[in-house]
Symmetry: C2
Subunit: 340 residues, 2 copies
């Protein structure tokens, strides 16, 4: 099997990095200050395996109970826990999801020894509800907003799907702070819904590996059984707590990125790119004439990294992270040269 | 299934914590300084998924090639990777190990849906080589020094076992810096040997979750395929690198703990405890007359935490982390009261 291939993290030079959906703005100064304060001799001691302080704060922020939350070493860790908890190799299909989407789902299925049932999105990225229901999987994954398309499935559609689905419905909301609505509101009425969040995007903490899963008490209790005991280190716990203590910082950055997203989408459309409506911090842009691979290489040579996926369904396009206005301007200038 | 149960991490009061084998001495000041320097806006960026800088330094320190190393979010993460890479649910036994040992192995086997073949240690904790060979497992685990016994299997015995074993032989050396020899020397001659290390004990960094696995290039390449891409955060990578840059700090603490171990073992023997010879930073102490559960409760009431395992093979004894001289003195005083 092949492992998951993350976006490039080159060390050789300083690129304009628009390839891994990092936030162009720094974490809250309160996060950095809390981290500095936490660098003490106490690092000799194990972290709290239950992440109690973080879960208590998150419960308050998101309006759920602390025992409806489990913390992960990034949401990738939470996804791995969900696969471990749900998949009994043998009976197929155990996991189903619409594609194209986050390719880690394929990798996790392979690791767990199961063949996923993948269902193509409609051309406009409408969720293929009936086909997913027909799959009857124990574990259904919906990346929402979806990567790499950036499109959002309305929560009402997810609610309809979850009420009719037999298995767990995991809504991977890595990018949801950039979108107009969240599935967290379904937790009360749909006990089979699990919502995943990450601090890597909106909270500018990709370097600290923090994710949260929200679900029913029963589901969270099962996930705790397959969790690495000490999956978050002391400093990640501190950073996450401090980030939740400064929501205005995150919200202000999100608002700036949303505005830049609108402007960038407009500029790219003028250059001949088609872009599905994005509710994430990236755009999936396909040019009418120029191929994705050529554009990727051309941008790279000009010091700009974007994400190109070599799979047939995606190779025509580029996934472009929304950066600062300056970064986006440099990207547009480079694309103008490449497309002229 | 039941999840792994870690040692208590109580928040209610400051105990003398001799229950989870943490180092009583702080991490190197160079580690703390490096961490403070690394608390920057760059935390918005993903960490290096390949941990290249850390692996390069570790390769230099331990005399192997960087591509013979993979870094883990604690050695628990590395153990989970080994189970994921080796276990195909169905054919049994796929994993074998001598018991009593680190109970996480049981949990990981359960999570991966396999029944481990457990072979009792001889009463003097000699490795049951022939019985393990007879099991013929794909994955063999030897915690060495073993927890909770503290005993060391000689590397020559492990070499003999590894040469005759068909499967992988994982030597979990979490405590080896406190012992007289390491199985790292076998990597050149035994391609089926994997050695695990952690920074939680000798390097005083339990709070940062750092482990390393050493093996053949082929085995390490397989482990990389089942690794969470970004399993170590930026600060853990920095802490690990800085810890390897200050080996004298670690070695001095280890030497102090070894001397305290000898003194503590002597004092406990005088109180009527039997203790297998320990090469770790803990002692497994069994009293001739007093039960482990009673002693555990008596110590807890006196503000001292030790580890008591409720399983039949271990419930008579206590696993006691070697602390500072002052902590060990308080323990001996409390045990003298409890046993008089």
């Amino acid at each position: 099997m092949e492992g998951y291939v993350p976006g490039e993290q080159p060390q050789d030079r300083r690129y304009i990095k628009l390839n891994t959906n990092e936030n162009p703005y720094p974490p809250s100064p309160r996060v950095l200050e809390a981290l500095r304060q936490a660098v003490t001799d106490d690092l000799r001691l194990y972290p709290d395996p239950s992440a109690r302080d973080l879960r208590t704060k998150a419960a308050d922020v998101y309006g759920v109970s602390p025992d409806q939350i489990v913390a992960g070493n990034g949401s990738d860790d939470l996804l791995a826990m969900l696969f471990r908890a749900c998949i009994d190799a043998g009976t197929s299909p155990e996991v189903a999801y619409p594609v194209p989407t986050y390719s880690l789902y394929d990798t996790l299925a392979q690791i767990q020894g199961t063949s996923p049932k993948t269902v193509p999105f409609d051309p406009d990225f409408t969720l293929p509800v009936e086909a997913l229901l027909a799959a009857g999987a124990r574990l259904n994954l919906i990346c929402n907003p979806n990567s790499p398309s950036g499109t959002l499935t309305p929560v009402s559609t997810i609610a309809d799907f979850a009420r009719r689905a037999k298995g767990l419905v995991v809504v991977d909301e890595a990018y949801v702070d950039f979108a107009r609505e969240t599935a967290l509101s379904l937790l009360g009425s749909c006990p089979n819904v699990v919502v995943l969040r990450t601090f890597s995007k909106s909270f500018s903490l990709a370097g600290m590996r923090i994710g949260l899963a929200f679900g029913s008490r029963e589901v969270i209790a099962q996930l705790n059984k397959v969790k690495d005991s000490y999956n978050l280190d002391r400093l990640s716990l501190v950073a996450a707590r401090a980030a939740l203590d400064d929501l205005p910082w995150m919200n202000a950055n999100v608002q700036t990125i949303r505005e830049a997203r609108t402007a960038l989408a407009h500029d790219l459309a003028e250059l001949g790119f088609r872009i599905p409506p994005s509710e994430a911090n990236f755009l999936f842009a396909t040019h009418a004439k120029l191929g994705g691979a050529d554009l990727y290489r051309g941008l790279r040579a000009r010091g700009i990294l974007v994400r190109h996926f070599a799979t047939p369904a995606l190779s025509d396009g580029l996934r472009i992270t929304v950066g600062t206005r300056e970064q986006n301007g440099a990207l547009v200038t480079a694309l103008r040269t490449l497309s002229s």
